[in-house]
């Protein structure tokens, strides 16, 4: 693994509010959150709570209407280079698996030689080496999602955001994806993930961020959250009483 740049964690979101346009309701409404190095963070919450929005604001795809998003260090483009994101549906280009990874690495200015090493390593880690020459869009959804993960992995990000990465997958594919996420995490990358799947949350999370109506209600270590959640809403949610 190549040498990492200075860490950009922890990430601080302070009193973030977001509306799609003036007059629209605030979908994030005073959200404060700190994401620290070294743990796998999973965001939970009912539909409409703002889980996806939180990820997108944190990653810089959206500007907060109010409030701040602060990485450690200079922030800005330098911080962006240390992050990657995988979406619910894999977004791949109409080219080979290898070319997809190359494209991303070239965007980051990685030299051609280093590109080869990194992508081979990432493909191997994701168990995709035998598919390297295949046209990416002809693979199954599960395989495509693993390609998206491998692509993110090859970038060696400090932080990997994942928005419901297995929601579109069958259990077998979901398992392969979870296994790859574990591998990436064990390499030192901070995982920030949303999911609807409580079982998945139990399997993967080190800490849980529970969201409701655009705010963080709880942020606790996973074991604690699942054993004895602090808020009534969280309890209802875990029991399945809250509508998705």
């Amino acid at each position: 693994m190549t040498e990492r740049s200075a860490t950009i964690l922890p990430l601080e979101l302070e009193n973030v509010r977001w509306q799609v346009s003036a007059q629209a309701p605030f979908r994030l409404d005073g959200l404060s959150l700190q994401l620290a190095l070294g743990s796998r963070t999973v965001l939970l919450g009912p539909n409409g709570a703002g889980k996806t929005l939180t990820l997108r604001v944190a990653h810089g795809l959206l500007e907060p209407t109010e409030g701040t998003v602060r990485w450690k260090g200079p922030g800005g483009p330098a911080a962006a280079l240390q992050q990657a994101m995988v979406f619910q549906r894999p977004v791949l280009l109409r080219r080979s698996v290898t070319a997809n990874l190359s494209y991303a690495l070239a965007l980051r200015g990685i030299s051609a030689e280093a590109r080869q090493t990194r992508l081979a390593h990432a493909l191997e880690g994701a168990g995709l080496t035998h598919l390297a020459a295949r046209s990416a869009r002809t693979l199954s959804v599960g395989q495509q999602q693993r390609v998206a993960l491998a692509r993110a992995w090859a970038l060696e990000p400090q932080v990997l955001f994942l928005d419901e990465p297995t929601a579109s997958l069958d259990p077998g594919a979901a398992q392969a994806v979870e296994s790859t996420i574990q591998s990436i995490a064990s390499g030192g990358t901070k995982i920030v993930m949303t999911t609807h799947d409580l079982g998945q949350a139990r399997r993967l999370a080190d800490d849980i961020v529970f969201l409701q109506a655009g705010r963080v209600t709880e942020h606790t270590p996973a074991a604690e959250f699942f054993e004895s959640p602090r808020s009534a809403e969280a309890r209802a949610f875990l029991k399945g009483d809250l509508f998705w």
Partner: protein, 234 residues
């Protein structure tokens, strides 16, 4: 219909003997319209991409206007360009009236909205699909849009072919700014209009058949080129 069979016979004869006049006007039609569509793509594609991926006040209004401009009447465009290029007009000094260059200009004005509006539509879908991921990967907007041009090349080439089809088939604009001068600015469509007004309907129809055949050939060539460049399909 007797005229129809005579027309086919005429068309065949002209084609097989490679009639000199036919070759001349067909080549001019191709030169003018291909150049016009090339320029239209150079302006229309970036314009469509920018419109699809940027939010600004009045975007919807501009998109509506652009879509409406697809229906610009060729004869109106011809008239406007004529008034610009006339010796008594603002650009008279350029001495472009009644030349193939003027025809290219008129067709460029005519088809750029088509290329822009249709490509905007394609880019909008592409941007919805890819935009977030490309930005996440660190692509600047121009870089991302360039990638999307490549990704969306099938749909975008349809937009360009639509523009080409419009150009090679129109007569109003090239008639007014070109003047249908023999051996100079006469193209397939103005020749067809000429023969029709002369009452030589089989010849006019025969030329029309050849024009349609030319259009089919162009589209076939474009399709073949795409297949050759990228045989696998998603």
């Amino acid at each position: 219909m007797a005229e129809l069979s005579e027309a086919f016979a005429t068309a065949l004869r002209l084609l097989v003997t490679l009639d000199r006049d036919l070759v001349e006007i067909a080549l001019l039609s191709l030169r003018v319209s291909l150049l016009a569509v090339l320029l239209a793509a150079g302006v229309g594609l970036p314009l469509g991409a920018a419109l699809a991926s940027t939010r600004f006040p009045g975007r919807n209004a501009l998109t509506t206007v652009l879509n409406a401009l697809m229906g610009l009447p060729p004869v109106v465009v011809g008239l406007a360009i004529y008034l610009l290029l006339s010796r008594s007009g603002p650009l008279g000094e350029l001495n472009l009236l009644f030349t193939p260059t003027a025809m290219v200009v008129a067709q460029f004005v005519l088809i750029t909205p088509i290329v822009a509006a249709l490509s905007r539509d394609t880019f909008e879908s592409l941007w919805d699909e890819y935009g977030d991921q490309l930005r996440s990967l660190g692509a600047s907007r121009p870089r991302a849009l360039t990638t999307l041009v490549f990704e969306g090349r099938a749909a975008l080439s349809v937009a360009i072919l639509a523009g080409l089809g419009r150009a090679i088939a129109e007569v109003g604009a090239v008639q007014i700014v070109g003047g249908n001068i023999a051996h100079s600015t006469r193209v397939m469509t103005t020749a067809i209009a000429l023969e029709t007004s002369r009452g030589d309907l089989p010849l006019a129809l025969g030329l029309g058949i050849l024009l349609v055949a030319l259009s089919i050939f162009l589209n076939g060539a474009a399709y073949g080129m795409r297949q050759w460049l990228e045989p696998t399909h998603d």
